[in-house]
Amino acid sequence: MNITEILFYAISAIAIISGLLVVANPFTRDPVASAIALVISLLSVAGLFILQGAFFLAAIQLIIYAGAVIVMFLFILMLSHSSAYWPKPRYIKGLLTVVIVGGLCWVLIKRLLPDAPLPFDEVRLTIGSTKAIGKSLFTDYILATETASVLLMMAMVGVVWITKRN
């Protein structure tokens, strides 16, 4: 077992455990704890991106998800925190959800993966560079890039309109 495998299993365990803590925290029902667990899960997934050689995506993940998105979540949580109330957990519904979704997860893992190991290129690290992604974004995927920019613009205008109208 080399260092990469140790890193992979450690980071995956952190990602899954903090992902579970986002959904169901046994200690508190405060959404702020969920937001902090979400940060840890997103950072772990960024670590998994680095292990796969996707350095650009890892950086984008850190900047956008762990930076912007979580800060927005924490803003909303802190601003709406004062009069928030948390009802009692409904254990029957929670148990039913865990059973159904756990069964779905089991079926997905069992049936979705092929029997033979997937072929993969071991020298992907040099290819997963920022330059190649940027070139691909502005040649093959130029329409999708423009659409994404229009989408972000519309989201910005929509957010301002939603929150500012009286």
Binding site: L57, S80, V101, P117
Partner: protein
């Protein structure tokens, strides 16, 4: 070069299993919780699991998966902005972030 090739010796199937577990965790959060902020966070978790699967498949098929994951990240940013704006409006109207309080359309 030897170090670089050794860095990514893990098979993509393992990443896909991790991605499936994370996706199902987020799905359980969307279905099982009633706090709308935690539901939004679970949606983020699901999108992130999808990104992990896309990057794992880009180990096999080339760089297209990473480009698609980039678009998913930008879409998630737009989605969370609009979602949180709607949550603030809901909080102004209902003084609550529980989905149980939204029952105007219930017969």
């Amino acid at each position: 070069m030897d170090n670089q090739t050794k860095l990514i010796m893990i098979a993509p199937e393992k990443y896909i299993i991790i991605s499936t577990i994370l996706f199902c965790t987020g799905l359980a959060g969307v279905v099982g919780r009633t706090n709308i902020l935690i539901m939004l966070m679970s949606i983020e978790l699901m999108l992130n699991a999808g990104n992990l699967a896309l990057v794992a498949f880009s180990q096999i098929h080339g760089l297209d998966g990473q480009v698609l994951a980039f678009f998913v990240i930008s879409l998630a940013a737009a989605e969370v902005a609009v979602g949180l704006a709607l949550v603030t409006e809901m909080f102004k109207l209902k003084k609550s972030s529980q989905t149980d309080d939204l029952k105007e359309l219930k017969m």
